[in-house]
């Protein structure tokens, strides 16, 4: 501990030491003078006797030094001075690194926000999601299906691994009262839901035991957001009565504002889930609607829970044979469940930005290498004065570290701006917006940035450091000012750097190209509808006032009639599922005359309940037969329309019209047979889908539903029509909430949002990487050529023609380019199979990716050509005499 004290009084110490030694010398001289020497002789003799004064003083000082730290600080000061002397290099290096670090930090903070932050519940590591799985069906989504009510009740009782299990399902509710009627998607949950999650209400209470039984379940818990928005944060909201779907519910609690479960934030309200008695019968095992979560007992692992669920599912299958054949169950940790949704996309982005950072590092490394040539003398002198190689390398590494820290700091600042931009961009993508709000620069991000900066310092610092310090003392010092044109090793490193940059740039270009190709292909293929001049609006009938199917059908009938009567409307209709707007509803079907299959084995098709003029409104063509007419009322014989893909799949060699099919759309045990009366064009229901799927349409008057989307084709701009649409609907029922009033074009654009957001990100990062690579390659090649100016001058003075010299230089450059392209292609080969997070059959056939590869190679090749040609031309233009003199 003494040295700590000593450190502060160091200066004084050194001063005293100096004085002491001076006095000592003085005494020695005095004595010698006293014994007869001249002062001058005495001085010389004394110094000789003392030995190396400076060294003695230096060694004495060394006793007090704390060598490693002091050396390091010296290095830092020296490095900073060196960097300051070379502002151009320093600025470029810092900015380049800052760009690379910024994009990495931005993407990492997104990943941090989405994936790494757990749900805000008690001890999320102990919570699992129980899912059912259909092991026979492969592909997406079949390994995590919801649970049926029957299974939930059974497994809750039978399982041993869990403290408790809770279930939830979403439901649409119409909230009425003061203010506009509003449609909300809330959650119905079992009474123990919040207990299993371990959260308590901020105000009031959570549900109590047995509150999820019918008769006691007219209670509701609000989310903090809803409470603020609709109840003005009024503490007296507890106890108030609200009307949901026409029925009265008492508010018993408000959730805290930082509760969050999954990716999509928190639902606006919760009410208790009461199971209808039918849903608790074994045959209702097919009805999978519940999301089930369970808290594991202490000591239970996820694997054990998973194994138990599989066993329980097997037992249920055996006990209630004939239901849910082949289905099993599993348990997934809640963290994995949530993060898997974003896994692929995020990882892809991370890959891209890491490549960008690599390119930035290569740039800086080549810059350093170029600068190293100039600093040869400096190192030679230091080595001559006794510096070891390691000392010099350390010095250079410290300089790299300084650049890295400065670049990292600047990058973090840029990232703040970038994250803000990203957040705003993602907020418009409705699904992710609550999560987007959470994307901030927190300590994880800062830590990550720091580590990344340090790593890059080593990456771009090490190799050049070793090169620059491999000095040939003799020749360097001797030449007195001539910067050496470089050793073989330096040239080799330069070549490696150039080819690396070219390879990385190629990889980026290909990845971006593949992505763009997919999107363009989708847009080009069209969706089977005419989206122009169409306005849409979603109507969800609340249970009050429109209780029965016939009343529901009557409502929509009237609404459509009112719309058709409005001036400016060409056609109006309604559908239960809006293409590109809603997820397609899939139902099982049977075809008359074909063997009867159990529900689990039946074929599946997309299903739409539509009005007579729906097809005309959206511009879906009628291929054969007839469309739905007003004569197809509720009492008329049931009819259906199918699309071409349906015919291709189920009636490949026969006429479909006249055949009868049965669709399990209405929840009835045995729905009736409908006759196919027409074939219509295929419609693509989602942006990502490429292949067509079978689709069936039935008249909504025969198969009423409470939720439909109105579509209206207008003569002029559909946007201005929104007010008239609302008036038309409210003239039928003034309390009916209308949601999602958008033009069809807006719907279409939004459906592509997921792919589009990723595409924009991709494009930005790839573009940045390419710009950096272009600058780097060009700069390096220009520098290489400039180094050969002397040589070029000699050649031309000896009679070489300009074209010959040009050809020689460009050829060398193209060789580098070829090697770079070759290695880039090798690196990019896996991109041929890049899944982009889509299922296998949704991608373009792999063969079609060829053009992207070729285009990328062409672009990069052209760039490499220009990069070698232009500097070469400059060099050959120089007067040979000047070039010869150029040192």
């Amino acid at each position: 501990m003494n040295w700590l004290k000593h450190m502060f009084s160091r200066r004084k110490l050194y001063g005293e030491l100096s004085e002491e030694i001076r006095e000592h010398l003085g005494e020695m001289i005095d004595e010698m003078v006293a014994s007869g020497m001249s002062r001058e002789d005495a001085t010389h003799a004394a110094r000789r006797q003392f030995g190396n004064v400076m060294l003695a003083e230096g060694n004495s000082r060394d006793v007090w030094r704390w060598a490693p730290i002091e050396d390091f600080l010296l290095d830092v000061r020296y490095g900073a001075r060196m960097l300051r002397k070379n502002p151009g290099f320093t600025a470029v290096a810092i900015v380049t690194l800052a760009l690379g670090v910024a994009v990495n930090s931005t993407v990492f903070s997104a990943m941090n926000g989405f994936m790494l932050r757990g749900p805000r519940i008690k001890d999320p590591a102990r919570v699992v999601v129980i899912v059912t799985t259909d092991p026979l069906r492969e592909g997406w989504g079949w390994d995590r299906q919801p649970v049926s009510a029957f299974d939930f009740a059974a497994w809750r009782e039978q399982s041993q691994s869990f403290e408790d299990m809770a279930a939830s399902e979403s439901g649409d509710f119409a909230l009425a009262g003061e203010g506009e009627p509003e449609r909300l998607t809330g959650m119905r949950v079992s009474a123990n839901y919040f207990d299993v999650l371990g959260v308590s209400a901020a105000l009031g209470r959570t549900f109590s035991f047995r509150e999820d039984q019918s008769g006691r379940n007219q209670v509701v818990i609000l989310s903090h957001g809803l409470w603020e928005r609709r109840f003005g944060s009024n503490p007296k909201a507890i106890g108030q009565v609200v009307r949901l779907d026409g029925e009265a519910y008492t508010v018993v609690g408000v959730m805290s504002s930082n509760y969050r479960l999954g990716v999509y934030g928190s639902p606006p309200l919760w009410m208790p889930l009461a199971f209808a008695p039918e849903s608790l019968l074994p045959k209702a095992r097919e009805n999978r609607t519940l999301e089930v979560m369970a808290r594991m007992k202490p000591g239970v692992s996820v694997e054990r829970a998973k194994a138990e669920m599989e066993a329980l599912a097997k037992r249920s299958e055996q006990t209630y044979s004939g239901t849910s054949k082949g289905w099993s169950a599993s348990a997934i940790s809640i963290q994995h469940y949530i993060s898997d949704e974003f896994g692929v996309g995020m990882r892809l982005q991370m890959g891209v930005v890491l490549v960008v950072l690599l390119i930035a590092c290569v740039n800086i490394a080549s810059l350093q290498l170029a600068r190293g040539a100039v600093r040869q003398r400096e190192f030679a002198v230091r080595a001559a004065l006794g510096a070891g190689r390691l000392r010099l390398v350390r010095q250079l590494l410290v300089e790299s570290l300084l650049i890295a820290l400065a670049g990292g700091g600047l990058g973090l600042l840029l990232a703040c701006w970038g994250v803000d931009l990203l957040r705003r961009g993602l907020s418009s993508v409705a699904d992710i917006s609550p999560l987007a709000r959470e994307m901030t620069i927190d300590q994880n991000v800062i830590l990550y940035t720091l580590c990344l900066s340090a790593l890059t310092a080593i990456l771009f610092g090490l190799a050049p450091a070793f090169h620059q310090t491999a000095v040939d003392l003799h020749s360097t010092l001797k030449e007195g000012g001539r910067t050496s044109s470089g050793s073989k090793a330096r040239h080799r490193t330069q070549r490696v750097l150039v080819t690396t940059e070219i390879a990385l740039a190629l990889v980026l270009l290909i990845a971006a190209g593949v992505f763009v190709q997919e999107i363009l292909d989708r847009i080009h293929a069209g969706f089977g509808i005419d989206a122009n001049h169409v306005l849409t609006a979603n109507i969800s009938l609340s249970r009050a006032g429109h209780k029965g199917p016939s009343q529901q059908a009557a409502f929509f009938q009237k609404a459509i009639q009112r719309l058709e009567a409005t001036p400016g409307v060409i056609a109006a209709g309604a559908t239960s599922t809006l293409p590109l707007g809603d997820a397609e509803r899939i139902v099982t079907l049977s075809i008359e005359g074909r063997p009867d299959l159990s529900p689990a084995e039946r074929a599946r098709t997309g299903y739409y309940a539509i009005s007579a003029d729906y097809l005309r409104t959206l511009g879906i063509p009628l291929i054969r037969g007839r469309t739905i007419l007003s004569s197809d009322s509720g009492q008329a014989p049931p009819v259906a329309l199918v699309n071409q893909e349906f015919v291709r799949r189920y009636f490949p060699n026969e006429e479909a019209i006249g055949k009868r099919i049965r669709l399990d759309a209405s929840g009835l045990e045995r729905p009736g047979w409908s006759e196919i009366v027409g074939v219509v064009g295929d419609v693509r229901n989602s942006f990502e889908e490429r292949k067509h799927a079978p689709q069936v349409y039935e008249p909504f008057r025969q198969k009423p539903t409470s939720v439909m989307t109105l579509v209206v084709r207008t003569g002029s701009d559909p946007g201005v029509f929104a007010g008239m649409l609302r008036r038309a609907v409210w003239s039928v029922d003034k309390d009916q909430p209308i949601t999602a009033v958008q033009t069809m074009n807006q719907v279409m654009v939004q459906s592509g949002d997921d792919m589009r957001v990723v595409n924009i990100l991709f494009g930005t990062f790839a573009g940045l990487g390419l710009a950096l690579a272009a600058v780097g390659v060009f700069g390096l090649m220009a520098y290489t050529v400039a180094q050969r100016t002397h040589e070029i001058g000699i050649r031309m003075a000896l009679g070489a023609r300009r074209s010959e010299v040009l050809r020689m230089v460009v050829k060398k450059g193209m060789v580098l380019g070829a090697v770079g392209i070759g290695s880039g292609l090798a690196l990019a080969a896996p991109l041929v199979w890049l899944k982009l997070g889509l299922a296998n059959d949704e991608l373009l056939p792999f063969g079609q990716r060829g053009p992207v590869f070729l285009a990328a190679v062409f672009v990069i090749g052209l760039a490499a050509l220009l990069a070698s040609y232009i500097p070469a031309r400059q060099a050959t233009k120089v007067d040979p005499m000047v070039a010869l003199r150029n040192e």
Binding site: E23, M28, G51, A56, S60
Partner: protein, 98 residues
Amino acid sequence: MMILRTLKRRPLHGYALAQHIKRTSDDLLQIEEGSLYPALQRLLKEELVKAEWGVSSTNRRVRIYRLTKAGARHLEYEVSRFERMLEGVTRVLAPGES
């Protein structure tokens, strides 16, 4: 060790110390001033000696070193170690039984 012994007798400053050792060892030990000062600094750092400014006999401003208690203990320890070593070496080198 020798510096410590010298200082035990009385406190001295650098030059006098060097002179004393030279004289006492009859010029057998020439302590080079160049290594004297680093040694003094080391002793100072380990707090085996204390230093304070004073005036020498020749009216120069000098730093006078004085042994501390820890220094005295250290000296004893070093001396006994040296004597033991010397004893050992002497015995090994002793003419005698072959």
